[in-house]
């Protein structure tokens, strides 16, 4: 045993050094794993001499938590729409000096001045996408066009819903014709009842989030609610899969770049954001990740392969029917959204 320990110690005792770039300017960027083309970071270092320390986070909530614990830990963060709204409301966002982000010009028209950042002062879109239904062409009987198809009894035990409060409650609201960011108590109760009905009819196979792609690739269900980015990944691996934005409309989500108020390197961060918005760089990222790019320059560069892909580049009228989430006030989340969601999860 002693010897084993010694061998193991010897094996792993090059405890990783965390300061890879001594003497260089360092920028702390917090984003998701695999949510960037890593060679972009090397290019940035080559061109500007700034070393990027790329730190992973799990989701919007953990990002906010980290930010509240150490407000000066990151220079650039990548929150989603509703989290941008929350961070602004908490007065934790720095105003961006757009005169130093000339490449922000390339941002698509309909993603400018969004409701979560109405005057476009704090955020620049990085990636965007939609919420929709991924379906297996061999397992559905007719065309899938509507959220109501998720309530069709012929797909009993064959539908994977999302294990995500906002998205699933949003679908419950939308199928009844309400706004996905509804704050009306009656509407919320109705949506929860609708979701409970769907579960009690035995239509829901499972509530999943990360696992959905794999399960759909494996043909484990006919229909699943997914984000367009995941739909693209799944459809690449299984050509039986296709994606639709339901006719009632859906959600458009946007992941953004922001600078925290207490960021230690505000100037370098602006330089980084401008770099990320350069069409060739935005193209590299979009092609690596497979999500929709908000950058008109990059879309032009990517040409037919991108614009002809209806998952990545949805038709204008589909997008027009969609809405971006508003952040729900904390009291309402606490007093109604969460309890109703627990009811749905508890229902049998």
């Amino acid at each position: 045993m002693k010897k084993l320990m010694l061998i193991l110690l010897a094996l792993c005792f090059c405890v990783p050094s965390l300061s890879a770039a001594e003497g260089k300017k360092v920028l702390y960027v917090c984003n998701y794993y695999d949510y960037i083309d890593e060679s972009v970071l090397e290019l940035f270092e080559q061109e500007t001499g700034i070393h990027v320390e790329y730190i992973y986070t799990m989701d919007n909530e953990s990002l906010l938590q980290e930010l509240e614990i150490s407000p000066a830990a990151f220079d650039v963060i990548f929150p989603s729409d509703y989290m941008v709204e929350r961070i602004i409301a908490k007065d934790m966002a720095a105003e961006l000096d757009f005169s130093r982000i000339p490449n922000a010009e390339y941002t698509l028209e309909y993603l400018r001045n969004p409701a979560y950042d109405p005057e476009n002062k704090y955020s620049v879109p990085y990636m965007w996408g939609t919420l929709g239904i991924l379906y297996n062409k061999d397992m559905v009987t007719g065309p899938v066009t509507s959220w109501a198809d998720l309530w069709d009894p012929q797909y009993a035990n064959n539908v994977i819903m999302m294990d995500s409060l906002r998205d699933t409650m949003g679908i419950g609201l939308k199928v009844l014709g309400y706004s996905m960011s509804s704050t009306d108590e009656e509407e919320l109760f109705a949506a929860a009842d609708k979701l409970i009905e769907q579960k009690q009819l035995g239509i829901v196979r499972a509530y999943q989030l990360d696992e959905t792609k794999d399960r759909m690739i494996g043909g484990e269900a006919a229909l699943a609610v997914v984000y367009s980015g995941d739909a693209w990944v799944a459809a690449e691996s299984n050509d039986k899969l296709d994606y639709v934005i339901p006719q009632e409309g859906s959600n458009v989500w946007v992941d953004n770049m922001m600078i925290p108020k207490q960021a230690p390197h505000y100037d370098l961060a602006l330089e980084f954001i401008n770099f990320m918005c350069r069409p060739d760089i935005a193209q590299m990222n979009s092609e690596e990740i497979g999500y929709s790019s908000p950058n008109s320059g990059a879309i032009e560069l990517m040409g037919e392969e991108y614009s002809g892909n209806h998952i990545q580049n949805p038709a204008g009228e589909d997008v027009d029917r969609c809405e971006i989430y508003h952040d729900i006030p904390a009291e309402l989340l606490d007093s109604l959204y969460n309890p109703l969601w627990n009811d749905v999860m508890n229902a049998r």
Partner: protein
């Protein structure tokens, strides 16, 4: 013992081992799958191993180092701490003993997330939000490992004669000598078991590490958890398989060595 009963016993052991190793086999196969999804076999490849050993996947390699070094240090420290603790607890009066054991069991009654959050708050209270990193993660690992060592060593102590230690002291042994030559040999099996369990818990922990390490240091579990949001590609299966094979070989070698040294 009859041949049939021995055969039956072997069959039983093999079935249990099969149950435990079936998923492991699936993972090993997946590390050679050229496709991205575990749900679909798309052909044989060494790509993921090449990825791993070519040094392209820096974050995975450094996460592996963090995982292994934390697991080893935490195992060593918690084994020492826990073994001494168990010996001491066993020497206590019934009442104190029972208080100590309740406290030892307490961390296990809390969900990992609560242990993680409460330790994180402790670290923030004492040293501020920036303090979290490799070292705090290590402290947390030692904390959740130690009770398992105690739970493994204690039953062993109960099997031995409780007066041998005092007898050794009466005969002029120093406490250190009595510890090394009287108590430890008696509960060696329990110590080894405890160390194994501690290592196992450490190497696989996600929740507690996540809260206590902050975002600047990542172990393998944290990395895999964040990767799951996009896709867990074959490199992760490759790194797990490689680690598994190396550790198993090491362990079997040492085991064989000690077995032959014993007999």
């Amino acid at each position: 013992m009859t041949k049939t009963s021995r055969l039956f016993k072997w069959i039983y052991l093999i079935i249990i081992l099969l149950f435990l190793y079936l998923p492991i086999a699936v993972m090993m196969i997946q590390s050679f799958n050229s496709g991205l999804s575990i749900s679909k076999w798309e052909g044989f490849t060494f790509r993921w191993y090449e990825n791993l050993f070519s040094g392209k996947e820096k974050s995975i390699v450094s996460a592996l180092q963090v995982t292994l070094s934390v697991a080893v240090i935490a195992t060593v420290v918690s084994t020492v701490l826990g073994t001494l603790g168990a010996i001491g607890i066993y020497g206590m009066k019934k009442r104190t003993q029972s208080v100590m054991m309740t406290l030892t069991n307490l961390p296990n009654t809390m969900p990992d997330i609560v242990t993680g959050v409460s330790l994180m708050l402790l670290f923030i209270f004492v040293a501020g939000g920036g303090s979290r990193g490799y070292f705090t993660m290590l402290l947390a690992h030692i904390t959740f490992d130690t009770p398992y060592v105690i739970l493994s060593v204690l039953p062993k102590l109960k099997q031995m004669n409780s007066h041998t230690y005092e007898a050794a002291l009466d005969l002029g042994a120093t406490p250190g000598y009595a510890l090394r030559h009287v108590i430890i040999p008696e509960c060696r099996q329990g110590i080894v078991t405890g160390a194994m369990l501690a290592f196992t818990l450490s190497i696989d922990d996600f929740t507690i590490s996540y809260f206590t390490a902050g975002s600047k240091v990542q172990n393998l579990s944290m990395l895999i958890y964040s990767a799951a949001r996009r896709h867990v590609d074959g490199t992760f299966y490759a790194v797990s398989t490689a680690m598994f094979v190396v550790l198993l070989i090491l362990l079997l070698a040492v085991n064989k060595h000690t077995v032959s040294a014993d007999s």
